[in-house]
Amino acid sequence: MTTLASAIHLLAALFLLAAFAMLSQRRLANLITLYAWQGAILASCIALAAYATGSAHLYASALLNALLKILLVPALLRSLARRLDVQWDRESLVQIPTVMLIGLGLVIFAFNAALPIAVPGAAINHATVGIALAALLLSLLMMILRATALSQVIGFLALENSLIFAATSVTYGMPMVIEFGIALDVIVGIFILGVFFFHIREQFDSLNIDRIEGHHE
């Protein structure tokens, strides 16, 4: 049981690391790869939790997450990036080292906020909850600081990853029905956003957010 717990801890730490890496990465192709890695970490974490609790529906959830987040969504994002011809994010509002510092502050805050949350079960402790919360805040931060619509969407997807991670660590996953629902939402969301990107670019000749905001009046 202890090796299992430390394995989950290791994965949780990697999950947080991936979140930080995504925050600092400005090349879109790398960002998508990082997203896929984060998905892989999430899926294996769920699989370990499934092994620890021996519940069949967590195995199914792990499989679903793996299919969706390692294969399908990254492939969709890559093809979108290729067809829209965006490779780099523009200069972000705040410099990368400053962003890292803000992120660090958020992580400390998240651990503090997670302290009072009591976690049932031995395999996962409150540090994992803190990590999930921290990853959630980091992805929100990433959405704020990015200037192109596509990387904002990746930030949004990372946020969803953190939510699933939090759900797994606090309650051993949500009911199967809800997980299916969320997975479906993610796929549909990607398709709709993909269509929107083409429309936005046709309309504004750019995917940069400030150009769209200019037409807001």
Binding site: L93, F109, A110, A113, P116, L133, L137, L140, L141, M143, I144, L145, Q152, M176, V177, F180, I209, D210, E213, H216
Partner: protein, 670 residues
Amino acid sequence: MNVSIGLPWGLILSALVLWSALAFASPFTVRFPRIAPFIFPLGAVGALCVATAGLLALHGPPVATISPLGLPGLPFHGRLDALSGFFLILFGLTTVAISLDLAGYRRHEHYPTAERIGAQYHILLASLTLVFVAADSYSFMIAWEAMALSSYLLVITDHLSGATRRAGFLYLLIEHVGALALLAAFAILIAQGPAGAPLSFTFTALHAAHPDAAVAGLVFILAFLGFGAKAGLIPLHVWLPQAHPVAPSPISALLSSVLLKVGIYGLLRVAFIILPTPAPWWGLTTLSIGLMTALLGALSSAVQNDMKRLLAYSSVENIGLITAGIGLALLFSAYGLKALATLALIAALYHCLNHAFFKGLLFLGTGSVLHATGERRLSRLGGLIHRMPQTALLMLIGTLAIAGVPPLNGFVSEWLTLQAFLKATALPRPYLAMGIPLGAALTALVAGLAGYVMVKFYGIVFLGRPRDAQRAQARESGRLERAGLGLLALLCLLAGVWPAGVIALIRPAAHLLSGANAMITTGDLGARVGVGHATYVPWVLWIALGAIALAAILILRVRAARGARRVPVWNCGHPLASARIQDTAEGFGQPIRDVFAAFLAMRRHRPAQDDRVPRYASTIEDRFWQGLYQPAARGFALLFAATATRQPRRIAISLLGVLMTLIGLLVLAP
């Protein structure tokens, strides 16, 4: 004995499969134009299957099923009982006619319209069937929402016009308010049941929940709100006169004939079957709202100038009458008068069926007129009886039926409703026993107004001379359209001359409803009345009508025998031979408009004495717009304006606001 246990479900499932296949195939008719003519007739076959299943379900025992559809662990429950059966018959028969009409309608439409209607229409039919057979709140709500969305898409078929989109939005908005109320009602009921019980959301479990009186009342109010929004009861009726005129006419027919009845079905299902014995105030609320709706609908339809809006308000009126009947039944049920409750229910359900037939007929006929002339305004139509004689004849049957003229079907149900009102003297509370029969007077007023409206409708559209030279070249509608009209006209006639047959269809449903919850008190007063007395006996009426006709013929014969009379030429008071001199829709509605001015919100423009170009105009709005909806809309606009100024325009800053709120909440969390 029960040979038919598997058959009704088999028929329903095959109809569902057929409709799904048709919805899927519709978009491909562009590539394979050869299959296009078969789409809607095949849909009619599905509707026939559903009607047959309903007929089989009426007399068989209730058949429950658990379908393989739904989510893992959450299967859909279905149940076919007499109530579902009755509404499936209503839905199936009306839909056959509408599908036939759509088959003709399809030919006049350009590329994407007919294909889109084909897909959405069949999805709507499938979800309607599911609503009628659903036996748990979860599949009911899913079917309900599927129905709302597909009908919304059908309403906005002509989505390029702003008026259509606005009407569609209003429909969707009211639909959502209603669905939220229903969701709340079901959630409260589920919470009343034992905690953690599996399948606590089935209707059987909800019935077993037995909430106390206050909770049951709350659930009833919520359900009444939700189903009333669908049926078009005041003050949530405003979507009807907006959505009906903009939707394609066959779709208006489906909306009016079937979709409004879904609200009635739901109200009956929840109030009589799921909830325990009703309290008297439920009945009084339903009755008074129903009567107000009926009066308002009749008055508003009398002053309309748009023919589809006129029919939409007339639907409001009819729904009001049906609801008043249900209110009476609830009241009788509350005091344990089972036989009288059955009578009131038979009247209400009979009127449901009749309204589906004649309103479907009128809307389909309006579609033919609209197609032939391209005109919805009554002030531009006229004289179509010469151009479209067959349509005019079928429409005459529809207008006479809705006006409540014997021997057509409208008379029967209005007669039964009046009977039920007059029998309210049996109620054990003196105020109710004396007050409610007064409702009969109001019902009679509404019926009279309905007759007035229909004289106006038919007279202006079909009689006289064309008011607009451009519309004079109208042509008769196609054969398929006339087949649809003819089927409904036949059903109107049949339901009028053979009420015993129709009541045999309704009786199982009415018994199911009144017997499900009504307490049987000692000395059941209803038993003395006997529903048989209230049954309308057609042959007596036929003899009377035949005698009048015979007398008229005889008098004319006698007159003619005296030889030709020679009199000076009379020019019928028409010194000028212009079509403009005929009575107009506005002119015809004027007395009603002035007598009932207090009920209508009217803006008039009268010419001054020295106007060079005198112009007279009046616009009539629903009072509820001024009184309820506009203040509400202004309130929301103010609220949003207040928040919008504080909201920064940059997306990044909005997101930062989200992050800060999240952090703030986490800090505050204990």
